[in-house]
């Protein structure tokens, strides 16, 4: 088990501890929202990474469509979609918990919540479709097509809900939109979740490749042509 990516995972874990400790215990409380805003130090990095990983999945999906034998790309795609799902679930739960004390409700159909929820459900649907598809080629192409279709929908959902004008959510936070004391814990956690995400993707992709080789003759070399049937008669 001496996979090189474990180093990345360890680095991510270290950063997560560091950023969390910093954010939770060493930042002054926010004036209006008191300590509730410390959820930000995990929520915002999760949001950035969920979106980033979903975008990466989209890029991989486009790649799969152009690859002649997409085995490795396909494994990476499936792994990425899966990790994006996990991050989205984390994101939604954090967001709900944040919503209760600040908006007085766990859930609201605001653009960001809705589009995140749709992305989670749509990506879960992609994984479900994948599990029902038969044959490696079909699995690969269908996963890619469904991922593209689902990803393109996310901004449309966002926009369509935004048009209903009921938004409670504040603007997307970035290091420049929050006070500078909060930059470093945010950055640390953002990179922590990014590294952990990459680590997870690599491990899942490895597993998917191993499992695929288990039931597809892909790994054994194609038998060489034994007989030349030059039927010229």
């Amino acid at each position: 088990m001496r996979d090189r990516e474990n180093l990345l995972g360890a680095l991510g874990l270290l950063l997560l501890c560091l950023g969390s400790a910093w954010g939770l215990f060493y930042t002054p409380p926010e004036t209006k929202m008191a300590s509730v805003m410390r959820i930000f130090f995990i929520h915002v990095p999760t949001a950035w990474n969920a979106l980033l990983i979903a975008t990466f999945a989209f890029a991989l999906a486009v790649g799969v469509l152009f690859k002649k034998s997409p085995g490795k790309w396909d494994a990476a795609l499936a792994a990425t979609v899966e990790v994006a799902c996990v991050y989205t679930v984390m994101l939604l739960i954090q967001g709900s918990i944040w919503g209760k004390p600040t908006w007085g409700t766990y859930w609201d159909w605001d653009p960001r919540l809705t589009s995140a929820a749709v992305m989670g459900v749509a990506f879960a649907g992609v994984l479900s479709l994948r599990s029902f598809a038969e044959g490696p080629r079909r699995k690969a192409l269908w996963t890619a097509v469904a991922t593209i279709i689902a990803y393109v929908d996310v901004p449309i959902v966002y926009f369509s809900v935004q048009m209903t004008d009921r938004t409670l959510h504040q603007n997307l936070s970035s290091p420049t939109s929050v006070s500078s004391i909060y930059h470093w814990p945010l950055r640390a956690n953002a990179f922590a979740l990014l590294f952990i995400g990459i680590w997870l993707i690599i491990r899942r992709a490895r597993t998917i490749l191993l499992e695929a080789e288990d039931d597809a003759g892909g790994s054994s070399p194609a038998p060489e042509a034994t007989l030349v049937a030059g039927v010229e008669g």
Binding site: G125, E134, L141, W142, I148, D153, S160, M163, T164
Partner: protein
């Protein structure tokens, strides 16, 4: 490209007419759904009237998965889809032909459901009938386009009955939101003149997905 697509459309319409029982079942299903909404909400006429657009689009969306699923079940029953590809018909032509056939079916269904829902819920049209027709055409196109692509996959996957709604429903949320809003504004009146934006939103969704699905359909049937 257009000629084979029209050929596929013509064939699908012929298939629809060849077994009217299949269609009747879908139509009946949608009618029953409309009835169920009025029972679920209770006899409160004003809320039924206010929510007519929502119930109408829900009935259309739920029935669309049945119609879409059926349309591809016929293609995979005896590998007819493979036969089409061997003829050869370009995959994009198959997609546009079938998607248009599904759209026409949903339009016919809507033409039946709209007056029925008016009768059941006591709604009426304050705006223009033309606008109502336009938003129904745009909205059903939003269901038929991606629905055709997805059913090409789910019809050939195990567990196909669950898969199609599972994939399609989250995807068409924008279509549902915008179509319901626009239809509501047409039915109940639109003092602020907001409906144009909703029409445009569904129109954009249609444009994006009818293009994208046409491009991707080849990859779906190739596997």
């Amino acid at each position: 490209m257009i000629r084979p697509a029209l050929g596929v459309l013509r064939k699908d319409l012929k298939l629809d007419l060849a077994s009217p029982g299949r269609l009747a079942a879908v139509v009946l299903f949608s009618v029953v759904t409309l009835l169920l909404f009025s029972f679920a909400v209770g006899p409160d006429t004003s809320s039924l009237q206010r929510n007519t657009a929502g119930y109408l689009w829900l009935a259309l969306t739920l029935s669309s998965t049945l119609a879409l699923g059926e349309s591809f079940r016929l293609e995979v029953e005896d590998d007819a889809l493979e036969g089409l590809l061997l003829l050869p018909v370009p995959p994009a032509a198959i997609f546009y032909g079938k998607a248009t056939a599904n759209l026409l079916f949903l339009l016919a269904l809507a033409a039946l459901l709209v007056p029925l829902s008016f009768g059941l819920y006591g709604a009426s049209v304050r705006g223009s009938f033309l606008e109502l027709a336009v938003i129904i055409a745009l909205g059903t196109a939003g269901l038929a386009g991606p629905g055709t692509l997805y059913s090409a996959m789910t019809a050939r996957a195990r567990g196909s009955d669950v898969m199609l709604p599972l994939l399609l429903f989250p995807l068409v949320i924008p279509v549902l939101i915008a179509s319901v809003k626009a239809t509501s504004l047409v039915l109940l009146g639109d003092p602020m003149g907001d409906r144009g934006a909703w029409f445009a939103l569904v129109g954009c969704f249609d444009l994006v997905y009818w293009t994208l699905c046409g491009l991707l359909f080849g990859k779906v049937v190739d596997a």
